[in-house]
Symmetry: C2
Subunit: 166 residues, 2 copies
DNA sequence: GTTCTGGCTATGCAAACTCTAAGCCAGCTT
DNA sequence: AAGCTGGCTTAGAGTTTGCATAGCCAGAAC
């Protein structure tokens, strides 16, 4: 039973969550709900900024890439920044905003899971700590700095929100 | 420029990644490619084990829930375990395997991102450390234990795999 | 001013995903 | 043996996501 999360009292027998209490993960899928949006974000972290780079590196078709870039820009994960190379006309680059950058832990967690469970011969690509060369992973920690194993993880309602709703 | 990842030499001008080098994140989407599969996994972490629980708590229709449970079981993230309540016939419960449990950091990272960027009034639900009550988040760390800021994150090819491919 | 190129947009179609509604089956309960 | 219930499956339809192909537009380069 150490693989499941503890639930606080008031959440015990809840049902119909999708409507009653908004789940932050489910909400995220309204913005990042397709595979292609993650591929676009991956390339943004890898340094892609131009339309052609996104298309080429992700293998996504142009119409879909254009749609995703538009959506991600509208949602504030990417930002259109005009740039101009010498002898070229002004073009738009797509750069990560803070909101977009903050998605990195999600992508790293996904990559590490894929590495571990999907490639038996070891990872093709590795994320390493530039300073020391060791591999990078994601870790659950509380804001007080303790590592948090699954069985010490507890889900509860935010008391401030509960009061506000009354 | 501190929001993008450093790339090692041999990855510099790569294109056509989708085919050339398998990306662990992209591979993950072949198993966990739909929103509903994440909702199912979320409920598994919240302690759901029976078919009806998954259907009711996620709000997914029965045919889709059945399909996802079958897929996730086939991929080894969940495991069918027969159980029997007194006076009832034998039924199947779906329990998290190690492969499934290891997905927790991905889900937590998603939740925290949703909390932070999608709910301006603060999170509805909170993940806390049962021992100390502080909120839980995901953190990038290297295997040597150092916290890793984005600009110290480097992407490179696995040297062992490179040798093997020769 | 014609051409070329990067960065898109438009159109049409196939595949994937999800829903509702209905039905099936095993085996307890009566 | 008839009914009920949990755990599904089947059928049909609608929406979303994706692709390929083709075209458009602005502004250098010639």
């Amino acid at each position: 039973m150490s693989t499941t999360i503890q639930m606080s009292e008031e959440l015990g027998p809840r049902s119909g969550w999708g409507k009653a209490i908004e789940c932050p993960m489910a909400s995220m899928f309204e913005i990042l709900g397709t595979k292609t949006s993650y591929l676009i974000m991956r390339e943004a972290f890898y340094g892609a900024t131009r339309f052609e780079e996104f298309v080429e590196r992700t293998g996504i078709s142009e119409p879909v890439a254009a749609a995703r870039l538009r959506e991600l820009t509208a949602e504030g994960l990417l930002e259109k920044v005009p740039y101009r190379e010498p002898g070229q006309r002004t073009r738009s680059a797509y750069e990560l905003t803070e909101k977009g950058s903050d998605l990195l832990p999600v992508l790293v967690a996904m990559m590490r899971w894929g590495d571990r469970w999907l490639f038996t011969n070891g990872a093709r690509v590795e994320l390493t700590h530039a300073d020391c060369g060791a591999q990078v992973h994601t870790e659950l920690r509380c804001d007080a700095g303790h590592p948090v194993p699954t069985d010490e993880l507890e889900l509860g309602l935010n008391p401030r929100r509960l009061r506000a709703a009354r």
